[in-house]
């Protein structure tokens, strides 16, 4: 079988963004303090989307990314994008996956309008949003490095 094309970017980014969007919506409803049912629904949606992001990222990282990785690592000036960027991204993601799992369990039993539980929801939503932005930035670093690598290889350097 021929090697897959590089510059892999697939459905996992969409699902991750949807997870962040659901968390943002949950945060908004929580701060408005209007309808607790929607806080819990958005929390469960965030859990679902982040799990879908993991499932859909597996073929990208395990099979497709290898082509881009080889290109990135072949240029000294790009190597950090894999060795720091991708290595951090692929592993930190598991912390986010477990946080989203905890969020789903908590949303199942805990009323967000309780004064002591509101703070917990706030913390989890904010960590998911900020963490998602961080992972997205690392993904952009890796994507740009892959493009530069292919460009160098094509005679652009």
């Amino acid at each position: 079988m021929a090697a897959p094309p590089g510059l892999a970017s697939d459905l996992h980014v969409f699902f991750a963004l949807m997870g962040m969007l659901a968390s943002s919506a949950g945060l908004g409803v929580l701060l408005a303090g209007s309808d607790t049912r929607w806080v819990r629904r958005f929390a469960l949606l965030a859990t679902l989307f982040i799990w879908l992001s993991w499932i859909s990222s597996a073929p990208v990282y395990m099979y497709e990314y290898g082509v881009d990785k080889a290109v990135i690592k072949s240029y000294e000036e790009l190597r950090a994008a894999h060795s720091i960027g991708m290595e951090t991204k692929e592993h930190i993601f598991y912390t986010g996956l477990m946080l989203s799992t905890a969020l789903g369990l908590i949303a199942y039993v805990l009323d967000p309008l309780d004064p002591f539980s509101r703070r917990l929801y706030l913390a989890i939503f904010i960590i998911i949003i900020v963490g998602g932005i961080l992972l997205d930035a690392l993904g952009a670093w890796i994507g740009i490095s892959a493009k530069l690598g292919w460009y160098y290889g094509g005679g652009g350097g």
């Binding site: 993991w54 597996a58 990282y61 395990m62 190597r79 950090a80 060795s83 720091i84 290595e87 951090t88 692929e90 592993h91 930190i92 598991y94 912390t95 996956l97 477990m98 946080l99 799992t101 905890a102 369990l105 908590i106 199942y108 039993v109 805990l110 309780d114 002591f116 539980s117 703070r119 917990l120 913390a123 989890i124 960590i127 963490g131």
Partner: protein, 105 residues
Amino acid sequence: MREKVVYGAGLGFFVSSMVNALLVIAKEYDEGFKEWLKTVFTHHWLGHGILVILTFIVFYLLGYAAYRGGLGVAVGRTYVYVILGSILSLVIIWGFYILHFLGVA
């Protein structure tokens, strides 16, 4: 029941996020362990994830079974676990790869 779920989720998250960070270091220093993950799970990253998820499940169940306090305390502890687990795993994983890249670790 609610307090048990909340406490179990917090404990499961904290321990699994720490195991996540420790597995990163273990894989870099013990090539045999990384190879074992590849052999058993087809890819080290997949095996890493499955071990993290299993850790969450085990410690969720342990926390659920062992917790005897009230809901307010469970939420307070889970809040601390969430903040600490997130910050520590980020610092350990990111810090380790930066030091590793620089040849320090």
